[in-house]
Amino acid sequence: MNGFQIVVCGSLVPDPLQTLEPVTTPQGPGLKNETMLPSVLDPWSAHALYEAANLAKQAAGSKVYLVSLGPKAKLQQLMMTVAQKVPFELVALDGSASGFTDAHGVAAALADAIAAIPGLDKSRLLVFGGCASASRDASVTMQLVCERLGIRDFFAGVDELKVAEDDSFTVLERIEGGEYLASACKGAPAVLAWATGNLPEPPNNPQVGMANMRGVMPSLMKAKPTPSGVGGIAYETTEIPPQKRQTRIVKDASADEIAKEIVEWINN
């Protein structure tokens, strides 16, 4: 197996435990106190990054890049934790990471950044990303990147990638009903949008962090301002529909009584 150039697309999203409140800004919809919200690496992109690092370990000579579009200051904060996970070289783009931006513009910026990576060898290129972001949640950006890079093989909702000695590979993609579509591909280049994969989150490794940060800071310094707005989307409303329910709390009933009530409810 020869080395790959594995480019992971992934950015930041608000920590899932934060309460989000939509507001209107001059640029379109946004989140209240958006710049102050704690951020995490987009969960599915994080899985893609861990899978990329795992593949790079198996294929000697591989290199992992993380292409990330987000506000520069927030990317810097994010890298303090993400950089400790696995080795990668950051390609930073300074722009909005809002979920209300148009995927077409974001994909164009990501594809341009990938194409501009020095020494990029398309015959060894695997582009990874999440199958959807936890912000826009559109599941279209990676396909648009794929088209812009002129790559013909794309896989969505990937949970497993196995590369053979001849560099061909097999993929399992999530489909309906909890099943997998199994495919075999002749090899790179390809774009894979990952679901959760099969790897746990790597523990923090300060040595990896220190090595990564040598490249992270210069990358952030030269991060290109990247306008990414709502594009042609005309938003009328963004709202949190009322979800509060009047919960009936059953505290002192026996297991028999509760079971009877649940069974009646199921059967009705």
Partner: protein
């Protein structure tokens, strides 16, 4: 109103999936003239099955190359169909097949695309769509002036179209596939490594298991085996679909003993699915994700857990039973 196309695909047996019939119903409901295009095995016969839908023209691609749900060939076929119909507005089901390929097709025809659409409303020349942002937390209503515009509709939103079959006289559209379009070969469909098929999208009930099933119980011991038996027994008797909290499937990834039939495929919430079922029963679940995100499209919700102050069950569930899930589910299974 823009020239509208309902773009559908067949399943391996040549029939149209339920999601395709839902999309067809959405196209009919717009109340405007529309065409239908179908790709996949048996596409021509599939147009006959929906001949009574009122479409002006039917288009098909049933080349052997699209017998497999493969990105490159599906994208090329979808482009050919959209161009043959001269479509400005394309409605398509948000199946795994179309979610994979239609963003690429949109790029090739210079179209805009939006996915996970949960509502459509046409007013004159304006079409308003709704979808969720930030994983089912914020609902947005929007429109686009640009055409072509592709919209992938979420399954379960529209009632499937029902109507008469007939002779549709579909126009077969020729597609020239590039050699590179077939570098990938679909080798089959696999079920996840699991003791049983536990994901049932059409089930009336979603049963969500939380990490509490794998924790020490009141006797100070783990009872993972008992939990497995109870849950599988319940699923067998109710034919419910099984969901999981993230923490439960993460335990498996960390090498701890857990429920062997549970995988990331079962996960609901932030990095899992947001399934649609009429009822949901959560057990031993304490996080926000199963309740706020995973339950977004569950109509009636009940929960069993030991914490009466569970902040995520209160206000999210209709009924919260404060009880030991092991005891309750044993009794439930006996009654079932």
């Amino acid at each position: 109103m823009s020239k509208t196309l309902a773009l559908l695909h067949t399943q391996a047996d040549g029939s149209l999936p339920k999601a395709a019939l839902e999309t067809l119903a959405a196209a009919v409901a717009l109340g405007q003239p529309f065409d239908v295009a179908i790709l996949g095995t048996g596409a021509s016969a599939a147009t006959d099955a929906i001949q009574g839908c009122g479409a002006a023209t039917f288009y098909t691609v049933d080349d052997p190359a699209v017998a497999q749900p493969r990105y490159a060939t599906d994208t090329a076929a979808a482009v050919a169909l959209i161009q043959a119909a001269g479509a400005e507005l394309v409605l398509a089901p948000g199946t795994s097949r179309f979610s994979r390929c239609l963003p690429g097709a949109a790029h090739r025809v210079g179209a805009q695309i939006d996915t996970h659409i949960v509502a459509l409303k046409a007013e004159g020349d304006t079409l308003r769509a709704q979808r969720w942002f930030y994983r089912q937390r914020i609902l947005g209503t929007f429109s686009r002036a640009a055409r072509p515009w592709l919209l992938l509709l979420d399954s379960g939103v529209f009632a499937p179209w029902q109507g008469a079959a007939g002779k549709a006289d579909a126009q077969a559209v020729a597609v020239t596939f590039a050699e590179d379009d077939q570098r990938t070969t679909v080798t089959g469909v696999q079920k996840p490594v699991a003791d049983a098929q536990t994901i049932r999208p059409d089930a009336k009930l979603l049963f969500v298991a939380g990490a509490g099933w794998t924790k020490k119980q009141k006797d100070g011991q783990f009872h993972v085996g008992d939990a497995s038996t109870l849950i599988l027994d319940f699923l067998g008797k109710t034919q419910a679909s099984l969901g999981s909290s993230k923490s439960l499937v993460d335990i498996q990834g960390e090498g701890q003993e857990t429920l062997s039939f549970m995988s990331h495929m079962n996960q609901v919430g932030q990095t899992g699915s947001t399934p649609r079922h009429p009822k949901g029963l959560a057990t031993c679940c304490h996080g926000e994700e199963p309740h706020a995100v995973g339950w977004r499209f569950i109509n009636e919700r009940r929960a069993v857990n030991l914490d009466p102050n569970c902040g995520w069950a209160q206000g999210k569930a209709d009924v919260l039973y404060v009880a030991d899930a092991f005891e309750v589910m044993t009794k439930v299974n006996a009654l079932l």
